[in-house]
Every structure is written in C-alpha cells, then in structure tokens.
C-alpha cells in the first residue's frame, strides 16, 4: 500500500492546497517497505497534488484541510483520504500503518516549539 502525506516541516501540513512538500511511504503488512521519500513541489496547487497522487498510484492520502471537490475527486479515483489530521508526520504514519488513524485526529505536541521547527 502506498501512502501520501502532505507535510510542512515535521508536521502534517494545515492545508492540502498550500503545501510545498509531500512524503510517500510504501508499506506491506503494517510495515514500511523502505524509507519514505520526500518530493518537493514546484508550486502549491491542489490539482497538481491530485495528479501526483494518481501518478504515484497511492492508495491513501493523509492531509490537513482539503476542499470538498478535491476530496470527492480522490475518493472517485479510489484513493482513501484521511483529512483534518493534526500532528507530527512520523507519529501519524505509524498510526496509519497500525490502522488507527481516523479523519480529524488531533495529536498532542502541535505547539509552536514543534511547528516552529519548520519556520
């Protein structure tokens, strides 16, 4: 299974349409197959991000805020979307692998010390 996480620094990015970086992780049987790889985007665009998700054949997208039309588009393309996630991407990925992640998950530690790390 391939998972795409929209990230900002060490955290899941607040908005799907305003991100500059994504992380793609491949896993099998709740284990990572390889070190997740990061892709820096040339520009922030929800449409281009949807294209990337399809091009990479991802099965799951984990993000923060996403507009309904992009959400529905990905769902139509059989991509599972877990949105409104707030937290450090490492922990989020672990939860996703363990099938514990749900939309709206808010993890502790998203204060300026952590989030500010990317500033």
């Amino acid at each position: 299974m391939k998972i795409l996480l929209t990230i900002r620094g060490d955290f899941i990015a607040p908005r799907f349409d305003r991100i500059a970086e994504v992380m793609i992780a491949s896993c099998y049987d709740r284990q990572l197959l390889e070190e997740p790889r990061s892709i820096l985007l040339a520009e922030s665009s929800a449409e281009k991000l949807c294209d990337l998700a399809l091009k990479e054949n991802v099965d799951m997208v984990i993000c923060g805020a996403i507009e309904e039309q992009h959400y529905q588009y990905l769902r139509w393309k059989k991509v599972r979307v877990i949105d409104s996630v707030i937290g450090p991407h490492e922990r989020v990925l672990e939860m996703a692998l363990g099938e514990e992640l749900a939309p709206g998950t808010l993890l502790a530690g998203v204060d300026s010390v952590g989030a500010g790390g990317c500033l």
Binding site: P14, R15, D17, R18, S44, A65, I86, V113
Partner: protein, 458 residues
C-alpha cells in the same frame, strides 16, 4: 483564590468574545491558540477546548502565506494587518474571510500575543461581480435623468475621491451616499452619517473629531469622533452647507492631510476616510455670498452628483407610486389594489416640492385612509385637490437651477406641467375665450375642454 479569579476572568473573556458577531481567536506569543469564540468554532468546526494550545494555523487553516509569516510580522512590529483570505473548515467547505491581525499587550506594554478577527465575507463576494450593476438596487427610477445618475454612480463607486451630492430636499441624497459606499471597495467598513445642521458648532466639532478627557466641562473620558469611527470607511456629511466657517477650516485641513487633532488633544490622529458631502443649498451661491469657503467647496466638489427633483423625472412618479403602494401594503398589512385613474392623474400633475419624500408620505397617508379596493382622490390629502397647482408650479420652477427660459419665465421640464402652463397662458392671452385659446394652441375646442378637465382648470 487566584485560581478562582483566573477562572472568573476567563469566563468573562469568553462571554465578551462570544458577543462579537465575527470569528475571534486569541493566540499567545508562540502563536498557539488560547481561545476562540463560538462564531469561530462554528466557522472552523473545532471546539475551543480541544484546540487550546495547538498551533493556531492548524486550527484556522487560512492561506495567509506559508509558515505564518504574517502573524510573526504582526507580532514583531505591532502593526495591525488586514487581508482577504479563505479558511477550510472540518466539513471541507472553503469560507472567504476578511482577516484582521492585531498585537495584544500586557499592562506593561509588552506584547503577549495576537488577536485574530475573521469576518465571513461570502455574501459580500457573492454580490461582488455585480457590484457596478447593483449600484442602483435601492434607488428607483427609469427616467432619463435617473439613468444618467446611475451611470455616474457606477463610476463614482469605483473611485476614492470626495463626492458632493446636491439636490433639493427629499430627492434621496442620503440613499445615494449610502449606495455609493455599499458599492465601493470600502463597503465592508463603516458608513458614518453626520448631520452638520443638527448640532451647535462646539458640539459638532467634538462629534466630528472627538475629544480627550478634560477638554471641556463634562468631558469625563476620551471619545473617538466620527472621523475616527469611519476610519477605512466613508463619512457622509449631510447638510454641509450649514457648517460654520471655523469648522469648515478644520474640515479642509482634514481633507488635505487626512489627519487632525481631537478637541483638547495634543496628538494628531491619522485617518483614511472617504468623504461624501451633501447639501440642498446651492453652494456656489453660498461661496459668492461668503457663507461657504471657496477652497472647501472646490475640495469637496471633486466629483459632483446632482439629484434631479421628482418633477423633472418624467415617468418616475408612476413607478414610485406603484412601489410605495406595494411597500405600505406590506408594512401596514393592507391589500390596496392600485390607484384609480383620477387619483393617478392628480398625483402625476402635482409638482412635489418635497420630492420623493413627499410622494412617499402622500402614499402612506392614502394607504392608511383607504377603506379598501383602489386608492381614490378622496383618500389623498385634501390640499392636493384644493390648492391650484399653478402658483406652486411657478414658485418651484423659479427655484430650479437648471431651468431654461420660456416667454420670459422659467419653465419646468415635465410635460404635464408644461402643457398645463401653456393652456393657462393661452387662456390668459385670449381673455378667457376658449375658441381663440384652442386655435392659438392648434387644438380643437373639444381637445382644449378635455385637457382643461384633466388639469382641473374648469
């Protein structure tokens, strides 16, 4: 004890924030959310309790640049910033908002965080594309004169220059000013109306520019003036012709520099205000007679909008009549089925010295008096049918600034009035002989007789 006080203070703060009709969030110095009001909870989909301590950007989810640059800038330099942006809530809906960021200080003046006010502007944006076309929405009229006014308004709404609205009393100068503000880019800010003729000079100065504590007896606290309240918006100075000369000087300096001293104050206040002024006086004459400053007149008269009197708006009486009948039917819960032909003819031939306001009051009077069915002459105020219109016509016509001369007299432009006057003139010239008067007018005797009945000359 301290814990109780802190709890009480938090409760009071929460209540205060909840009374504000826009979304408000308080962020600490690390830009983490301290609290937000119910409006913002509804807008974002998050509860203040669960979001407390979380980095604000993750809860509000705006697109104000990446990594909160704007918040950090405001926190650093303390300058309030306002931007149009969007938020995406937990229901995945994008809400356009007007966001204002200001720095908060403690009692020692040290920055302690930020206050973020988010005003939902989705309705405003929906109305946005038709802004120019909607400029006339509140004002009724399809006469050539009003079409010219609407065209000019669409242009004036797009500029930021001062506007002087002139016209007789009751022509709708206030409505025009408000509509200009609503159609301008300043629409989301305040529209403050000040009647310059309603207050004595000393009070008006304090009203316009504010005062500081102790400036005069009774000034127990600082008070922001109307100019300060209208900052970033529009101030509408109605009856500007009644402004005293000393205040005219102060107003001129505000217009030139956009800054002023409050009464008794020593600190200059800077404002960004668009000025719309209105008067029923003929300001040029006032200038000639030394009652109005020439420099202020030219400063205000950057753009001039003249509201035509109702008697010059051919066809609009009919339109307004229908509108007011419908309006007062709704307001007073009546079911009046239009206006009878005789009453309509009477209302159309009346010169309306009080303009639209007078017509509105006439219709309200009639709607209240009418027992049902159609409005008839008997439902209209008696002075309409009793008083001959001719002397009134001459008096009001003489007050018209743009009227042209006909046979040595000034004439109105609306056809019914003109025709009536022609008949009166022809009858006077023929010594009351209808046959000779009809011949002079180029009509048959019957036509003259019919028109005399129409204009109530028999």
């Amino acid at each position: 004890m301290d814990a109780d006080r802190a709890f009480q203070s938090r409760l009071e703060c929460g209540e205060l924030l909840n009374s504000i009709p826009h979304g408000v969030a308080l962020l600490d110095r690390r830009l983490c959310l301290v609290t937000m009001n119910r409006t913002l909870e509804a807008m974002t989909g998050y509860q203040a309790l669960e979001a407390r301590g979380v980095y604000g950007d993750y809860i509000l989810r705006t697109d104000l640049g990446s990594n909160d640059q704007l918040s950090r800038q405001v926190l650093a330099d303390g300058k309030t910033v306002a931007r149009d942006t969007t938020i995406i809530n937990t229901s995945r809906t994008t809400i356009p908002v007007h966001c204002t960021l200001s720095r908060l200080h403690d009692q020692q003046g040290q920055p302690v965080g930020l206050v973020m006010v988010l005003e939902d502007i989705s309705l405003l944006q929906q109305a946005g594309p038709g802004l120019g076309a909607e400029v006339r929405s509140e004002i009724i009229g399809h006469s050539q004169e009003m079409e010219a006014v609407f065209e000019l308004m669409a242009v004036l709404a797009r500029t930021d220059a001062a506007v002087l609205v002139t016209g007789e009393t009751g022509t709708g100068k206030d409505k025009i000013a408000e509509q200009l503000h609503q159609s301008s880019p300043r629409a989301r800010h305040r529209f403050v109306k000040v009647n310059c003729g309603a207050l004595p000079e000393a009070l008006l100065e304090s009203e316009l520019f504010g005062h500081v504590k102790g400036a005069f007896t009774g000034a127990v606290a600082d008070r922001a003036g109307m100019f300060k309240l209208a900052d970033k918006g529009t101030i509408f100075l109605t009856e500007i012709g009644d402004l005293s000369l000393p205040l005219q000087v102060k107003l001129l300096s505000v217009l030139d520099d956009q800054e002023f001293y409050p009464v008794g104050g020593s600190t200059k206040l800077k404002v960004n205000v668009r000025i719309i002024a209105a008067t029923h006086h003929r300001l040029r004459e006032e200038v000639e007679q030394g009652r109005f400053r020439e420099d202020l007149f030219y400063r205000l008269n950057v753009l001039n909008l003249h509201m035509p009197p109702l008697r010059e708006r051919s066809g609009d009486v009919q339109l307004l009549l229908e509108h007011f009948v419908q309006h007062f039917n709704r307001v007073h819960g009546r079911n009046i089925q239009g206006v009878s032909d005789e009453a309509r003819a009477l209302l159309e031939s009346y010169p309306y010295p009080g303009n639209v306001r007078e017509l509105r009051n006439l219709v309200e009077f009639a709607v209240n008096l009418c027992p049902g069915g159609q409005l008839g002459i008997k439902d209209l105020p008696r002075y309409l049918s009793r008083q001959p219109a001719a002397p009134r016509l001459q008096r009001t016509a003489a007050s018209l600034p743009a009227a042209s001369a006909l046979s040595g007299e000034l004439r109105p432009r609306a056809w019914p009035e003109l025709e009536r006057q022609q008949i009166v003139d022809a009858l006077l010239a023929s010594g009351g002989n209808r046959t000779r008067a009809a011949a002079a007018l180029g009509w048959g005797r019957t036509t003259l007789w019919r028109k005399m009945i129409k204009y109530q000359l028999v």
